[in-house]
């Protein structure tokens, strides 16, 4: 049973990709293949979560894939966002038809993307984790450049170059960590395994480990949109098709943070909590500052959502810097809630783009009058992102603030939240201008937004609200995941 539970998340999307390669993308039939496989993936994630909570970590023979509570939580996040994105893809592609060949490639690459991310969260050692994250860069390159216009190509180029360079730097960090591990007495196989490295943490050479951990955090942090190698994020998220942006914001960024957490688990016993706390706090505050400042004068609503992702990743990095149990629980909850809310936001922005043909906020006015359902969904998603209850982001942000003050990082947390407040204000102003007010051409017919295409978005919002009201069945999993993330 164990190997099936672990292999299914990787095999299901791969088989869907194969299906698309062989049969192609037909709007009525094969388009739903992706939904089927991600629904099965979600079921598998639930089963895995239950098994891991009851029986502890699982692994495949050979140790390539491994699932503990943290992996199970991340897989749940991956599965739900992937399900929403695949559910919304047929509606999105129907509104913006491309050539048969291009939609087929879209289908294949999207499924490969999901497979790579599932592999990353189920990775058994740093080697597999690195290869999976690098694979996500390769696979999403053409997804980002899907539209083939100048802006999309520019975004795709920047994305591939910056992310590949960042991942190479992370690889250097992993190489040095392997070196330190080997000199501490670990065997070839164990020196890349985080459980073994944590056991031998006090034997690791501090100077080498410091360099290694710093490089790994900067490299993986770049993939999460943290400064200094963040420049790809606004371009890639704004130019990619909406379901792809949703997947990137909702899953890829958290998976990169997951990699940072795995490194942190080794770094804290080996170097003391101070080193990574300082590094992550600096990166978090810088990212928050940049995102907040650039949100103020933002004129493109997809870029606005991308900078909002950066801001939330900054908050998550701040939580990682704090590192106490409450902070880690809040971090994991925030990743889940942000993933869901951002997915809905990006998906609705995709529909707005199709209806209005422009991504500039000044071109969209009085949306609430023209397409009330779409405007409502977009507005609710933005409100959820801003942290209004009952969305779970309210609880997670409150948790981060409390954890920060309790851990003695009061000033840092206050600064972070002050910057988040600036971003909050900017988001409200821009979204309000888009949604509220009279429609520019009142005589026009309202644009149709069928309930079928709205269903995935509604489901996402319901999930965020549910998560915010009660943790319910996932409480045990969340506690175990926080423990696995190294909170003492």
């Amino acid at each position: 049973m164990t190997p099936v539970l672990l292999l299914a998340p990787v095999m299901l999307p791969l088989s869907a990709a194969l299906g698309y390669a062989l049969v192609g993308w037909r709007p009525r039939s094969t388009a739903w293949l992706g939904v089927l496989t991600t629904a099965l993936l979600a079921l598998d994630a639930v089963a895995l979560a239950v098994t891991v909570t009851r029986h502890g970590p699982l692994w495949t023979p050979g140790g390539l894939l491994r699932a503990d509570a943290l992996s199970a939580w991340m897989l749940l996040g991956v599965a739900t966002v992937a399900l929403l994105a695949c559910w919304a893809s047929p509606g999105y592609l129907a509104a913006a038809p491309g050539s048969r060949r291009r939609t087929r490639w879209y289908g294949i690459l999207l499924q490969l993307f999901v497979a790579a991310m599932a592999t990353a969260v189920l990775a058994g050692n740093f080697g597999v984790l690195w290869v999976a994250i690098e694979a996500t860069t390769i696979v999403t390159a053409f997804l980002v450049g899907h539209h083939r216009d100048r802006a999309a190509l520019e975004a795709a180029w920047k994305y591939v170059v910056i992310c590949s360079a960042a991942i190479a730097i992370a690889f250097l960090g992993l190489v040095l960590l392997y070196d330190a591990g080997r000199h501490a007495g670990l065997s070839t196989v164990d020196a890349l395994d985080w459980t073994a490295l944590t056991r031998y943490a006090d034997h690791l050479d501090p100077a080498v480990t410091r360099i290694a951990v710093g490089l790994a955090v900067i490299g993986f942090g770049a993939k999460a949109g943290l400064i200094p190698l963040h420049a790809w994020l606004p371009d890639a998220h704004s130019q990619a098709p909406a379901p792809v942006s949703a997947l990137m914001s909702g899953v890829l960024l958290p998976v990169a943070v997951y990699a940072v957490l795995r490194v942190k688990v080794i770094a804290d016993p080996a170097l003391g909590t101070g080193y990574l706390r300082t590094l992550l706090a600096v990166m978090a505050l810088a990212t928050l500052a940049l995102a907040a400042l650039l949100l103020i004068a933002q004129r493109d609503y997809k870029r606005m959502l991308a900078y909002s992702s950066m801001e939330h990743m900054g908050l998550i990095a701040l939580a990682a810097a704090i590192g106490t149990p409450l902070a880690v629980v809040a971090l994991l909850l925030h990743m889940a809630g942000h993933g869901l809310a951002k997915t809905v936001a990006f998906l609705s922005s995709g529909h707005i783009l199709h209806h209005h043909g422009s991504t500039r906020t000044t071109d969209i006015r009085g949306l609430a009058g023209r397409t009330p359902l779409l405007a409502g969904l977009f507005g609710l998603a933005v409100l959820a992102l801003l942290g209004f209850p009952p969305a779970s982001l309210f609880a997670s942000e409150l948790g981060i603030a409390r954890a920060g003050t309790a851990a003695g990082l009061g000033w840092v947390t206050a600064a972070g939240f002050a910057l988040a407040l600036v971003a909050f204000a900017a988001l409200i102003v821009h979204s309000g201008r888009m949604l509220l007010g009279p429609a520019p051409h009142p005589a026009e017919r309202p644009v149709a937004f069928p309930i079928g295409t709205a269903l995935p978005l509604i489901a996402g919002l319901v999930a965020v609200a549910a998560l915010g009201v009660t943790l319910g069945p996932v409480t045990g999993l969340l506690q175990a995941a926080a423990a696995a993330a190294g909170a003492p």
């Binding site: 290869v131 390769i138 190509l153 180029w157 190489v175």
Partner: protein, 221 residues
């Protein structure tokens, strides 16, 4: 390998390895950059082969052969094909962000920085192999510098490949390589990245008319 020729051979191949990185910053012709990158790949393969001969490891020798084929053969061939499609005027690097003389001096400073930064690594296990580690780390820094300061698409790709060469050299000099499966995964990923970049560069040329990255000014805040 005797005890005196081993450090000498290592020093020589590491020296050629580092000098190729300098050469990439020095030259303006994109074709020369690709050739120098190929030479660097050969030097890297030689470095690993020397390590393999010293430790009498067949696995290292096989890895050296594979790496040599990939980085001194396949990747430069891809680069030459990408160049062949452009016009002769395309074949040069337009003014880089930092001019050539300043780039060379910056590269010298980065080499000194590499020596300083790798002190704890060399101290962890002093040996002739780790003594040339600064050269590998210097190539990483120089590759990153080239990636950041060049304006042509192909020069950026060569910078990225230099970065990767340096990291591979670091991996082999510190611990005689990572597990084979990781090395295979890394090489495969590298090949895929270069292929992706080549396709993107072709599309760039057909959409923008040239691969001068300064032409891409659509996305900004």
């Amino acid at each position: 390998m005797t005890d005196t020729t081993f450090p000498l051979a290592l020093d020589l191949s590491a020296g050629v390895f580092l000098l190729c990185a300098f050469g990439v910053l020095w030259r303006r012709q994109l074709a020369s950059m690709v050739r120098l990158f190929g030479l660097q790949g050969a030097a890297l393969a030689a470095l690993i082969a020397i390590l393999g001969l010293h430790e009498r490891s067949v696995e290292l020798l096989l890895v050296a052969c594979g790496l040599g084929v990939l980085r001194a053969g396949v990747l430069p061939a891809l680069g030459r094909r990408a160049l062949g499609r452009g016009t002769p005027a395309d074949a040069r690097e337009t003014r880089p962000v930092v001019n050539v003389a300043a780039s060379l001096l910056a590269a010298g400073l980065l080499t000194l920085l590499a020596y300083v930064v790798t002190r704890p690594l060399v101290a962890l296990s002093p040996s002739p192999a780790t003594a040339v580690l600064p050269a590998a780390v210097a190539v990483v820094l120089i590759g990153f510098f080239a990636l950041v300061t060049r304006r042509r698409a192909l020069s950026q790709v060569v910078g990225f490949l230099l970065l990767d060469n340096g990291i591979t050299a670091t991996a082999f000099l510190t611990t005689a390589g990572l597990p084979l499966i990781v090395e295979l995964g890394v090489s495969f990923d590298l090949l895929l990245v270069v292929l992706v970049l080549q396709v993107l560069a072709t599309r760039l040329r057909s959409t923008f008319g040239s691969t001068d990255l300064d032409e891409m000014r659509e996305l900004h805040d």
